[in-house]
């Protein structure tokens, strides 16, 4: 191989004037984490509402939930981001469109909302499966005790369902982090984006991508470890996950 390795490149100053190449990658890492957290909050909140709607004994609620999930699941994430970023400002009334286009940090907000909604369909499906896996007696007992439907969900069904679906939610969270890399296409300089610009500035292709790879692996290890701890702390005694 006639590739010139130069591992010292990380400590050389980057041409954007903000410290070394390593600083560039670290700022990307930070942005990846911020974007994924914002997207994950949106995904959890919206996904929970839609997931609950799909389990309600109401035809319209079911239909809305079903359409929502199908809508967000059957389009590539990249296309969805383009719709939010390029199409939405054009089809809105022009004053709103202009406001959207002039919004500072537009790529960040677009990515957080776009990825959040994309993931919310998956969270909704997980939560629906979680609620569906509960014995019917739980809901019936709650009703017999005089709880309203809202109370039954809030105090009985959801607390158990969330704990059951923690492992799949962990992998959905990891997917959210990985999906933030797609936002490179709308100009978000997250970790992959910074590795890409480091490659373009310095021509050290493989060093840049190796560093990004290592950082993604570290994020994975941290998230998986943290979730294991949470899982064991909230496990329900008497169930397989519990002690």
């Amino acid at each position: 191989m006639n590739y010139h390795w130069n591992w010292h490149i990380f400590f050389e100053p980057n041409p954007t004037g903000g410290g070394s190449y390593l600083d560039m990658l670290l700022s990307g890492l930070l942005l990846t984490l911020e974007t994924s957290l914002a997207a994950w909050i949106i995904a959890l909140v919206t996904g929970s509402i839609i997931g609950v709607m799909r389990t309600l004994p109401s035809k319209p609620a079911n239909l809305i939930g079903f359409s929502y999930v199908e809508f967000f699941r059957n389009m590539p994430l990249l296309v969805q981001l383009f719709l939010w970023f390029f199409v939405l400002p054009e089809v809105l009334p022009s004053a709103w469109g202009l406001w959207l286009k002039q919004l500072p940090h537009a790529p960040f907000y677009t990515a957080a909302i776009g990825i959040g909604l994309f993931m919310s369909a998956r969270v909704a499906e997980q939560l629906r499966a979680g609620i569906g896996s509960l014995p019917r007696g739980q809901k019936q007992a709650a009703t017999a005790l005089g709880l309203t439907t809202a109370q039954a969900y809030l105090y009985v069904l959801l607390p158990i369902a969330y704990r059951i679906i923690l492992p799949p939610l962990t992998s959905e969270f990891l997917n959210t982090i990985k999906n933030t890399a797609v936002a490179i296409t709308i100009g978000l300089l997250e970790l992959t984006g910074q590795a890409r610009s480091m490659q373009e500035f310095s021509f050290q292709v493989f060093e840049a991508y190796t560093a990004a790879t290592v950082m993604y692996l570290l994020i994975n290890v941290v998230v998986v470890t943290a979730m294991r701890v949470i899982e064991s702390r909230v496990a329900i005694p008497g169930m397989i996950a519990g002690k």
């Binding site: 006639n2 699941r73 059957n74 590539p76 994430l77 797609v182 490179i184 296409t185 992959t192 790879t213």
Partner: protein
């Protein structure tokens, strides 16, 4: 909202969008799925072989691929494949690899990790009596896998494999990051040339949506048909 929507721009671009863009996307999807399933099955067999080293290597590969964003993997292979080609052919300089070959290799290698997990679950779901009976009949390991275990595993996992292929179909749009004109890339090129991004992206979204919806409906039908056999 649709007052100055130009449908004609879409109509004029149709031949390019479908004959070039969609043909690329579908060929890439089909070949990556076939290649990914073959490689994935091999990786799954390595993991289940009981050989410590082989299993370790396969496991590391799967974990690595599944921890990385596809966009980063696309970049990796886009730059790495010419060097691998140089190393394999012994050429003096990194060889030139076309857009299609480069993305095909990327998707086969990436999806193999996901397909291998599906095939592993499929193989593990076969009861122990099956390979035991096969070896009692005098079949070698290879024969027992080929004629007894894998056909059943493959059949049981067919709906999941097809669902993963739909995901793969959507993921191929990410070749956009290295400017390869797949369906979305073609729509984007036309949209930028004519200043009609709104029309082109909405149309692209509609096409992806329709194809994925029809395909997942088909998978559900198939699942209902093959689920009862047992």
């Amino acid at each position: 909202m649709f007052a100055n929507f130009d449908f004609d721009v879409i109509r004029r671009a149709l031949p390019y969008l479908f004959l070039d863009g969609m043909a690329f996307t579908l060929t890439l999807t089909a070949l990556s799925a076939v290649g990914g399933i073959i490689f994935g099955t091999l990786i799954a067999l390595m993991r289940l072989s009981g050989q410590k080293l082989l299993g370790r290597i396969a496991g590391l590969y799967v974990d690595l691929m599944r921890s990385l964003p596809l966009v980063l993997v696309i970049f990796w292979f886009y730059f790495l494949v010419p060097y691998i080609g140089q190393w394999l052919t012994g050429a003096s300089r990194p060889i030139k690899v076309g857009a299609f070959a480069s993305s095909l290799i990327t998707f086969i290698m990436f999806e193999a990790a996901y397909f291998s997990e599906i095939m592993r679950a499929g193989i593990q779901s076969i009861s122990k009596g099956q390979p035991a009976a096969a070896s009692a009949l005098g079949l070698t390991y290879g024969q027992s896998m080929r004629y007894v275990v894998l056909p059943q595993a493959f059949r049981n996992m067919l709906p999941v494999l097809l669902t993963q292929t739909i995901v793969l179909f959507q993921d191929t749009s990410l070749v956009y990051v290295v400017s390869i004109p797949d369906f979305l890339g073609a729509a984007s090129i036309v949209g930028q040339r004519d200043g009609r991004l709104v029309e082109m992206y909405l149309f692209a979204a509609l096409v992806y949506f329709t194809i994925s919806c029809v395909a997942s409906f088909g998978v559900r039908q198939l699942q209902a048909r093959i689920a009862i056999v047992r």
